[in-house]
């Protein structure tokens, strides 16, 4: 696989002590390169693998500790976002996936990746029913694709979110409205599976925006399964790795410069990826 977005100097892949991360690609997933970069920056050893190479047995999930399904537009969102890709995974990879999640391994699905995990029934998998669809990411209230920044407040417990209180990251989706029946919602809340909710924080105040960008029930932006190891989130933390990705960086830079403070290097999304990697280093 060509990886020209990552310059040769970053391709330090010989170090076997680094946790190994597989980032899936194919059929219209499109955030694999920046997701790879986020994990590399956090200390991971990362491969982008086309789903058909997994299906053909050219690569196995066994060789990895973290599986990331990145954002994108798999199958153009046709028949419902994430549905077609989830079908393909279920048809060909189901056993490999259930073996993977039985072990002490982590899974993250971002945006389209979250929609795929929801359709695969890996989230929230209440009553241990892995494989049953229990939640949905429905059309935004505006029925329109939207790209903007949001503020997230974290709760619950999961290796992915240790030590994170609030972060600001972008969303970019047309079908991101978290939906579950009342019964499922009760259990999700009761079991504390909500990982992050939209709230009115730094970025919303900066741009005078509503906290909840899509009408998500209970303002839910991210959840985990009961084990906490499988995380699905609509926002894109991999687009909030570097300081200059923030919408307000030019203002912060000007303020800090005048206050004599050093200019930040990172944006806050990287913490999620660092947590994923740290889980295997402790």
């Amino acid at each position: 696989m060509n990886e020209f977005q990552i310059k040769k100097s970053d391709m330090n892949k010989s170090n076997i002590s680094k946790p190994r991360v597989i980032v899936l690609s194919g059929y219209g997933l499109n955030c694999e390169e920046e997701t790879k970069y986020a994990f590399i920056k956090s200390g991971g050893d990362v491969d982008i693998i086309h789903i058909n190479d997994l299906i053909a047995g050219k690569t196995s999930l066994k060789d990895y500790q973290i599986m990331a399904i990145p954002g994108g537009f798999s199958f153009g969102d046709d028949t419902g976002s994430g549905n077609a890709f989830a079908n393909r995974m279920r048809n060909h990879l189901w056993h490999m996936i259930t073996d993977f999640i039985k072990e002490d391994k982590l899974v993250i699905g971002i945006c389209n990746g979250f929609q795929i995990l929801a359709n695969l029934g890996l989230l929230p998998a209440l009553d241990n029913k892995y494989g049953e669809r229990q939640i949905a990411l429905a059309h935004n209230d505006s029925a329109r694709y939207i790209d903007r920044w949001v503020d997230l407040k974290f709760e619950g417990s999961s290796p992915w979110i240790k030590g994170i209180d609030v972060i600001s990251v972008p969303i970019a989706h047309g079908e991101g409205k978290f939906f579950a029946s009342e019964l499922v919602m009760q259990q999700i809340e009761q079991k504390k599976l909500v990982t992050a909710r939209y709230f009115n924080g730094e970025i919303c105040k900066y741009s005078n925006l509503n906290a909840n960008p899509n009408g998500a029930l209970h303002d839910i932006a991210a959840i985990t399964d009961v084990s906490g190891k499988i995380l699905g989130m609509m926002p894109h933390p991999e687009r909030a790795i570097d300081f200059t990705q923030r919408p307000d960086w030019t203002l912060i830079k000007e303020q800090y410069k005048r206050e004599g403070k050093p200019i930040p290097v990172h944006a806050s999304g990287i913490k999620i990826f660092e947590n994923g990697i740290k889980h295997f280093l402790q």
Binding site: Y27, N52, D78, I146, D147, L251, Q255
Partner: protein, 991 residues
Amino acid sequence: MVYRIEVFSTIPDMRARVRLKKLQAEKFFVDALEIVDVYTIDSSLTLHEATQVADILSNPVTQKTIVRASEDDTERLYSDFNQVIEIGFLPGVKDNVASTAREIIQDFFKKKFSSGEDVYTSQMFYLKGNFSDDIIKKIVDSLYNPLIQRASVKSIKGKILFTVPKVKLTVKPSVDIIPILEMDDEQLAVLGKQGILNPDGTSRGPLALNLSYMKAIQSYCKKIGRNITDIELEFIAQSWSEHCKHPKFADPIDEIPEGLFKRYIKSATKEIRKAKASEDFCVSVFTDNSGAIVFDDEYLITDKCETHNSPSALDPFGGSITGIVGVNRDTIGFGLGAKPIINCYGFCFAEPTDTQPLYKGKNFTQKMLSPRRIMEGVIEGVNVGGNCSGIPTPQGFILFDKRYKGKPLVFVRTLGIIPRETTGRKNYEKKANAGDYIVMIGGRVGKDGIHGATFSSEAMDSGSPATAVQIGDPITQKKFSDAIVKEARDLELYSSITDNGAGGLSSSVGEMAKESGGFHVNLEGVPVKYPGLAPWEIWISESQERMSVAVPKNKWNSFLELMEMRGVEATIIGEFTNSGKCVAEYNNKNVIDMDMEFVHEGLPKTHIQTQPKNEVYEEPSFDVPSDLTPSIKSMLARNNITSYSFISQQYDHEVQGGSVLKPLQGRGCVNADTTAVRPLVNSQKTAIISHGLNPSYSDISTYHMVACAIDTAIRNSIAAGANLNHLALMDNFCWCSADDPVRMAELKDAVKACYDYSILYGTPFISGKDSMYNDFRGFDHEGKPIKISIPPTLLVSTLSVVDDAKKLVSLDAKIPGDYVYVLGETREELGGSEYYAMVGEQQRGKGYVGNIVPKVDATKNKKLYEALSKAITEEIVSSAQSVHRGGIAVALAKTALGGMLGIHINLTFIPGTVKRSDSILYSESQGRIVVTIDPKKSQLFEKMMGGNIFARIGIITSDSLFKITDSAGKLIINTDIKTLHNDYTSTFGGY
């Protein structure tokens, strides 16, 4: 067996809610609306299997399904509703959701559909309310486009019919001989204009070959001693088309034997490159599908801008999605394949509030879509095309003029990145070699897009495919794009690649064959969507999402294996040769057999004569309003100035993780002129992109229109932190009535300005495109004949590369107390300005034009821009906003709105020669930028700007007031930021 699976929502369906609101806003009194998605499956599945299909095509958490196996099925949804409208595609129109459904079904049963089995989608709109037939018809009209879709209306109790829009072609494909040798001039002219006739007497579509072209073909036929085949004639028509050969730029014109392109554009780039010597950053200009310049030591950055105007007038969604996905292929088809990294858009529309209908046909037939429909469809097309492809779309504009009512302009632009070399092989060069297989990858060939935008007026009934319109399929393209630029290229599995765009295979294979010296194609080997296509149709079809690749024989197995692994169809359709011949066979007979030289070089030149225009406009005369507050409020709400954040927000501008300067900037989310992206996630190197266009100046002078467009595009870039030494330009000419000597005189002036100003700024053109006939001929709302021509429009696009993202500057004022400066001189230059347009509309219902158009002093400006660039590099500029449409007042408002901070300005200090306050505020003199500076840095800044015209004119405040004082000390504008923000954002608030 035909099954019909209906998927309906069990939770509030926001698509239906939003659609309902829209209908209600259009005063259709609909009480309730629900949408049901329908999959019609024509296959050998059992009922049980069809039920399984219903499960995998829907989501049990939010949806339920009905599976119907017979039209007699009586189960009904929403039985308390009144009407149901069903909308599906016409036969042969690309149905992307159906393709995905087919793939899901095949993957689930692990069994391919057999020939003739397929899936078709449609949507049912259930309506509740009391409707007259007339209202229902209007609602249906607002929901579908008869060019590509079918609609049926039923009462709720009506029978649900199964519609299978399968393509059925009854005519047996054949090759006709055209008796060109026996034709006289008149017959030749008719054939060239009307095109070849079908057996039933209808035309296959225009060839657009004028008499001199037809005579050249006739004499070639005499030379080879035979008549021409229909496919050969269609092939020549494509190869010699306006789109491929650009005769208005290539042919001799007046005293210029080498033509406008060579004299003014190509030579300017050549001279600039020579002058830059070792600093020359151009690598590939005017030769490939995109232009390419240096990005860093390892990479090149490519750029290309296209238009897709005529198709967008007919099917706005299809036209614009095909445009954006098509220009992506100019990136994938650059060199050996560049990766698309940035999309840009630019739309010129008529006012969306204009509801007077236009007709293509006499007697109120063939009604055109309304400006609002066109606008919405075009915006949606780029949304789906760009978002689905995973390419950020940060940069763009919308512009309004009533003269875009017949034909909107849809500019689409894509930048790409490509490593210069892979193991020593230069990736920006390519050569198909004799003996290489000709391979077609991606989609299949159908009747879609035959003869491009020509649209048959014949009614489309079941069985006759819609030919004129194409709909892009970004996912098919994404699959091969990834397979090519992320894998096959670096495995060196092919030797050349190009896009199948206009002209289809005839153009891509024809062009690539120049590299090897000939081709031999087997037309029966070309994969088709359905049987029955004639050879000429296969050869020129513009079915989307295809590329042609030259694969060496010893690489074929590896290439095919990789494509199959990535879900990409790849087929050998022939071989490149060095025979000097273009050969295509069908049924073991050569149906094309012509010399390469004739096909590519045989077109005769026409000497173009021009005739200068002499028009003087009424010079507006009105008093200066004593209170100018209402004027700034109105200006900010005008279509050409107001916020279009609803577009910026629906286009993903952050995918690929490189966003630096976003389309909406500052607390006030002001639309920026310039955006910036880091294409490599681990490098600070940044691409800065912008644009300039001023079609309203064309009425007065196309020369100055172009000069201003170039200056605006450069100035916008400089304000964000671009580097004039590493800045390239692209030109997109959209003209009208190109056979009119007056329009050609305007073109000549315009192209000359390209030369003059690119040389003065030292900024080379690296790629360009033209679209010469943007005229509409039809009938107005009273049925009277009407011709609408666009104002001559040049879009200038800029690309600059800088080292450090962290040094770029956004437009928003940052900190109260900062000084406000204006750089550059303000002159009495309001000809063609937005202010004149507004005042004229207010006073007499029609905008003023005036005569004093802004003129560009490039030498002065260049010095100023270089000084500002230095100040930005040294990080002493805290915000910068270029002054363009709407003048200084608008630039100041954007600065303040960006920061949601107050601003106090004294007009006296604004340098220039203007007396009238309103002229100072709204003159559109070029070469000006508004900046804000930390007071502690002001001395340093003033020193750095020394020798240029500039002045401190005011201060940023925390009081949220927008105050401008005139020379007498009188407050002429006094309002607050919240009010102005409301004015700035309300026009398109409901869009």
